[in-house]
Symmetry: C2
Subunit: 298 residues, 2 copies
DNA sequence: TTACATTTATACAAGCAGTATAATGAAAAT
DNA sequence: ATTTTCATTATACTGCTTGTATAAATGTAA
């Protein structure tokens, strides 16, 4: 049953938050979720894979919401970026994912370590893309440095802020503080032309141009975003447009959130989508369909 | 034998660097250093305490050298601070202590975690003291924020710099880059009066006013520094003064670097020190002697 | 009812940190 | 020269870990 598996994931997540990843034994999870060892290893090949499953089920939603905030907005608007960061911070706060990642990042499990490493790099890469939106291509040579500074600054200020149990400031204040600092820093390094890390490094970190939780999802994300933008610009605001966006969103969610996407659902929805909207946004629709198929064969 | 113990420490350090702390089993250390399990647990009560022993034998020297750089210099001079940072970075680079700390920081061993945590806080506190020297009391309300930013910036820029295997910049360049950034930042937050963390927090992190690898060492460090400054200002430059400084240094080293300081040596040296120099710097000498005794009873 | 898949209980292997103990050896005190 | 003392060794043991293997029990769909 799907439900039992999800129940194990939830129980394990709770235990990990309480006691930490390493300190939680598989026996604890067995006792907590009331299954036998055989069932556990039927669901997950290892403890590490269980962690990855937990991570996926949370992080994908955060990322999805984050992209939703950008939809049809000016990508250079700093306020949108701040909202995205706040969303991410809140998500991490309740799921304690960042704390768990810190622990797992240095564990014994080599596969797990690589997964986490990938996640951190993806985060850097996303931020770098947003910095490019905000600060413009002209500042590109200095933006990788700035992203790393910003990322570490946010992480640590947040960490110490939570440790200062007496008076913790709200997350948004930390974000604005760090944002103010980095705006100045970008300006400054661009003027003095100081550079430590070449932004081209990002490409060497992701050699095959695309990497993701699942590789095929990157194409899907891109195709979805483009299609949605096209729909936004092509159709007037109204029920018609909203319906299209909802359909596209649902298909993306089903493919990315579920471990076993329901093929019949997706194919049926795609068909009706094509019937109603294909003429005006044909090329985007074709890309969309292609990337869907790539996800389905996987 | 003292030698055998040190040999175990060195072997373990090498193994930890090669394979990591958790991945190195006690059996590995036994095989590597050619001792039996009984002897190991005779030397160290646990694997965690062995790590602490490794850490102490390295970190104390780094800290000692770091303070030596400041001796008789202007503490507000940024160049001295940069030299101190470079020294620390180099020491960490060869001993890989920072990497090991990252691993141990989230291990299962609660005692070990607390020790590492203490070390990180000590590092923050030291830096905060130096920032006060450099940027002045006037900027104090903003310096804890800035120290945390600076610390995390240095750590991460350094980390990604080493990962960029193609072209890694020399450490000193990272330091200067971060220094340039933080100078601007201090200026900026002082102007806009933005504060996240109250510097008074440092006192709550160290409730009993003093904490250290060994608590008594803090007093000793303070007493030594004051005595040396007094000697510097009281006696003219020359062999006489140099000899006094050497004596004081030797006593401090013997007390802090060795696990079993040789009492007869220290007492004899202290006596000759008192005979030759006591009149001019009496109060400092008395403090010095007092803190020595505190270390010896421990 | 039959056939198949999932689940369970249980025993097991190989590894870990740390404890306990009797035997060995070598220097130090008598 | 003999006895005492103490560090060291080899070895077995406890209790924990992740993960494997297997036969019996249970549920589920044809």
């Amino acid at each position: 049953m799907k439900n039992r598996r999800q129940n194990v994931i939830d129980t394990a997540h709770k235990l990990f938050i309480e006691k930490g990843y390493q300190a939680t034994s598989i026996q604890d999870i067995l006792d907590g979720s009331g299954i036998s060892k055989g069932t556990f290893y039927n669901y997950f090949p290892s403890k590490g894979e269980l962690f990855i499953a937990i991570f996926r089920s949370f992080y994908k939603r955060i990322r999805h919401d984050r992209e939703k905030l950008l939809e049809g907005q000016d990508s250079a608007d700093i306020e949108i970026f701040i909202k995205q960061l706040e969303l991410q911070m809140m998500g991490n706060k309740q799921s304690k994912l960042l704390i768990l990642i810190e622990e797992v990042r240095v564990s014994n499990d080599e596969e797990l370590k690589q997964f986490i490493n990938q996640i951190l790099l993806l985060s850097i890469r996303w931020m770098h893309g947003r910095f490019l939106d905000i600060f413009g291509e002209g500042n590109k040579p200095y933006l990788l440095d700035c992203v790393i500074i910003f990322h570490s600054m946010m992480t640590h200020m947040n960490h110490f802020n939570h440790r200062a149990n007496a008076v913790t400031k709200p997350e948004i204040e930390i974000i604005r503080y760090c944002m103010n600092r980095i705006i100045q820093t970008v300006d400054e390094v661009a003027k003095s032309k100081e550079q430590i890390l070449d932004p081209e490094l990002i490409h060497t970190w992701f050699p095959q141009f695309e990497n993701n939780l699942y590789p095929c999802h990157n194409n899907l994300l891109k195709a979805t975003a483009e299609l949605k933008t096209a729909i936004h610009t092509t159709f007037p605001c109204g029920e018609h447009r909203t319906r299209a966006i909802e359909l596209v969103d649902f298909i993306q969610d089903e493919l990315m959130q579920s471990d076993t996407p329901r093929r019949f659902l997706i194919e049926s929805l795609l068909l009706s989508l094509k019937n109603h909207y294909s003429e005006q946004v044909q090329t985007y629709m074709e890309n969309f369909e292609e990337s869907i198929n790539a996800c389905l064969v996987q």
